[in-house]
């Protein structure tokens, strides 16, 4: 497969690899169809608001690997996230009964003169400093717009340091301008680990790779039933564990937008099978996922057993809550595949999903397996979503879409968007832990949290009454897709 080429130091960006787009106005069925027949096209915006960049996504996957130091070869501003991830790192250590520690992150602090005379010497010094202070098992070097434009030969610095220090010093190409799709940063991090850390398998183990953020360990119990062990990667994995992920029995995804590069990489390079069913969100989603897992592991009867138990235990409780959601209109705003899974889940819980603003759209994943198309699955099961937008995290577009669609409830994934639901007086829920909604228990978890959110209506209404709106009257009367370069035909 050409898309995964470890000889290249940089990952191929998603736009080129997968044909990913950032702008779309239409219906869910339309985007599914266009993804399949290859007619999906991107649009350029004439106005835009702050996004995220792929460096953040790369850092998020690399920075919490347990025994590493990360060097950001950049001006100090690109290190703004260090402390945020350190905060997460520390909280999650506690949850995992790990000893208290801080994340060891260094900025090379590129300054004006470095942009003229080069900053490779500084990078060499920083590697040395990080090595002395941390004594890590590996060092990752993430790049930036500044280091990219001045054209540093970071690769040879890393190679030299690897030789001198005797630990892997691996670069991660994630210049902010490199890709319009921030999730390319995930791919960049996996590319780095596949290229510099993972070793060819020496044996097969009974571990199943769960490529994830730092979610709860909900897979332990499920995999145990099959006689396997969950191995959560990459945050909170050790370098040694990552070296051996090629020996695992399978790879599962919590979100295809996140990790299919890793899944496809391990599959194509080392033959680790990838579970390509949509992730286990909702009852129906969990059924399908368990069956796919059972098939790959050759234990279909155990899958059926878990499905039966799950239905007995959870479905009656969920059914009760469903009564309360009947006839309510829901709106989803999220990254790509996770948002699509939420559409499925909300439909299943009895909501009418009237619209969605997702951040980007991957027409296909690295495995090239259409089974993994979460949106197609949702549309086929529950019907079309009439107002499906790819909004690239543009909050101005979301606000307009919400004003028009007037949902009773908003389900959000990713910060920066929930505020607008609340400002408009609409109960809005964001759940940070991706694994919170996995499996049958997860479906119940979601139902309960949604119920609780709908119940806190007093706060939302009061907040809405007193909140300001920075958008002009003019803007609020335009079509949400107004700035998507003439592609506003689907607005409604």
């Amino acid at each position: 497969m050409p898309s995964i080429n470890l000889a290249e130091p940089s990952v191929m960006i998603r736009e080129k690899r997968l044909g990913t787009i950032n702008a779309f106005t239409g219906t869910a069925a339309e985007i599914v169809q266009q993804s399949q027949d290859g007619t999906l096209r991107d649009a350029k915006r004439k106005f835009s608001q702050c996004l995220g960049c792929n460096a953040q996504q790369a850092f998020c996957q690399l920075a919490m690997i347990k025994d590493v130091a990360v060097i950001n070869h950049a001006p100090i501003g690109c290190a703004g996230e260090f402390s945020d991830f350190n905060f997460t790192y520390r909280i999650e250590q506690d949850k995992r009964d790990l000893p208290e520690d801080i994340g060891r992150y260094f900025s090379t602090n590129i300054q004006e003169k470095d942009t003229v005379f080069g900053a490779t010497k500084k990078l060499e010094e920083t590697i040395k400093l990080a090595y002395e202070r941390v004594n890590p098992k590996a060092i990752f070097i993430t790049t930036s717009c500044a280091s990219g434009i001045i054209g540093e030969d970071i690769e040879s610095v890393a190679d030299k340091a690897t030789e001198e220090l005797g630990i892997p010093v691996v670069t991660c190409s994630c210049e902010g301008f490199r890709s319009k799709v921030w999730t390319t940063g995930f791919d960049a991090a996996y590319h780095t680990v596949l290229r510099g850390i993972v070793k060819p398998p020496e044996k097969k183990t009974n571990k199943i790779n769960v490529v994830n953020f730092w979610g709860s360990h909900v897979f332990d119990e499920i995999f145990e039933r099959f006689g396997y062990e969950a191995q959560y990667i990459m945050p909170f994995a050790s370098i040694e564990e990552l070296e051996h992920v090629s020996e695992a029995a399978a790879t599962v995804h919590i979100c295809p937008s996140l990790s299919t590069y890793m899944g496809a990489g391990l599959s194509q390079l080392y033959g680790v099978p990838e579970i390509t069913a949509p992730p286990a969100y909702g009852i129906d989603g969990t059924d399908g996922w368990l069956r796919a897992l059972g098939k790959v592991l050759g234990k279909e009867e155990i899958a059926e057993e878990i499905i039966r138990e799950g239905h007995e235990k959870y479905v009656p409780q969920i059914e009760k809550l469903k009564e309360r959601f009947k006839g309510k209109k829901a709106y989803v705003t999220a990254g790509a595949a996770h948002g699509q899974a939420l559409i499925h889940l909300l439909n299943e819980l009895g909501f009418e999903v009237i619209g969605a603003s997702v951040f980007h759209h991957d027409p296909i994943y690295d495995s090239e397996d259409r089974e993994l198309d979460v949106l197609a699955h949702a549309v086929n099961t529950y019907g079309d979503v009439k107002d499906y937008r790819v909004c690239n995290k543009q909050s101005c577009e979301l606000v307009n879409a919400l004003i028009r669609s007037k949902p009773d409830f908003i389900m959000a994934r990713h910060g920066g968007m929930t505020l607008w639901g609340a400002k408009l007086g609409i109960p809005t829920l964001l759940i940070g832990d991706e694994q919170f909604g996995i499996g049958y228990q997860g479906a119940l978890n979601y139902a309960r949290r949604i119920d609780e959110t709908l119940d806190s209506i007093e706060f939302i209404k009061n907040f809405s009454k007193h909140s300001s709106n920075p958008y002009t009257e003019w803007w609020l009367t335009q079509e949400p897709g107004y700035f998507q370069g003439g592609r506003s035909g689907g607005c409604r």
């Binding site: 004439k46 260090f82 402390s83 208290e100 301008f177």
Partner: protein, 444 residues
Amino acid sequence: MSQAIEQPRFTCALGSYQSAVAIKKGVPILHSGPGCGGQVNRIIGQGEGYAGGSTAPCTNAEEQDVVFGGEKKLRSVVENAFKVIDGELFVVVTGCTAAITGDDVAAVIGEFQEEDKPIVYVEEGGFKSNNYAAHDRLLNAIIDQYVDKFHESDEKVEGLVNVFASIPYQDPYWSGNLEGIKKVLTDIGLKVNILFGGESEGVSEWKTIPNAQFNIAIGPWVGLKAAKHLKVKYQQPFLQFPYLPIGAIETSRFLREVGEFAGLDKDKVEEYIEREEAKYYEHIEKMASFMLEFRYGIPRRVYSIADSSYSLGFSKFLLNELGIIPGTQFIVDDIPEKYQQYVLEQFENISELGNKRDIEVVFDPDAGNSQRKLEEDAKNYEDKRILILGSAWDKNLASKLNADLLIVSPPVQYRLIMNCGYTGYEGGLRAIEDIYDRVLATYR
């Protein structure tokens, strides 16, 4: 300093866009890469304010902008920002991509300025400096490109003063600190342009900057450039007060200096000071027995890993008003060398009794290094309970040393801040409450 930094406690020049967010109906426009705004917001910013965070317009540089230049995109984003966002002042700040590729931002924004749009630009680039230094450049850009053009009169108004103190969001307590300063200055009879936050009237206030009788710059270095600029531009003298005035001694000193500088009626100022001090010390007296008698240990030694203004302000306050002796002070704001001597002199004369105090001061933005030194030095004080004035980075260290941590620097994370501030008389009492709240909360 230009070496590597572990545990950053400030951000890059682009971070000054948060100052625009802090102006009422101010709208930042970032001409930068797509991730820059988020990076800034993550270390200096809790919440997005009116038009910061994911509302802030941004050109989101991509590969072709870096190759072919991003001027066209900038023009389009600015033009539409006026249509989409209801703002009174738009501030364009540029990042690394625009700076290295050499976009002619002046020309693009100049077109809008010719149409008398309320817009200014600051050509930064993240690598140019940190956000402390950039804040001054942003102030001057607004003064030169907006205030100078739109101000309504040149006449000086007696008792009107412009205050340049906390940097919004870089000072996590900026909102409360500015409120505190405005309150005491207003109370002695001045009319205050505080410029940022809820106590400011917004751009209409900025437009009266030229009418002020004088300026006040608080802190050892930030704000000085703006004050000096205004001295030349509008012939306004300025008074520098070298640190945040926290508690009674320093607030009274601040007010006396200001009163004298402004030519206020001395008796009236003294009358106010006397009244406030009486209230303040009544509270101190109430809690003195606790401080003197509490048997389980309260802080005796304070380290700070903070910026120069905080480090000085708190050291003076804690030594003179609470009896907590300053240990090594790690100053992390990358304060230029030419101001360091000034800070050292202030530390030498920190005692109200005129005793020379030998306080070790380390200027180093690499706080990872400072933490190691602090841990080493703390071994000398194993018999003492330690207070650390630091940031979220220091939580781990504090727990290792069984020290109390008051977060006074970004990153904040473990604290939610709305209008808490430590300036003025009330701010001093608040600081005492917060310090002992942390101390007492550790007892089971």
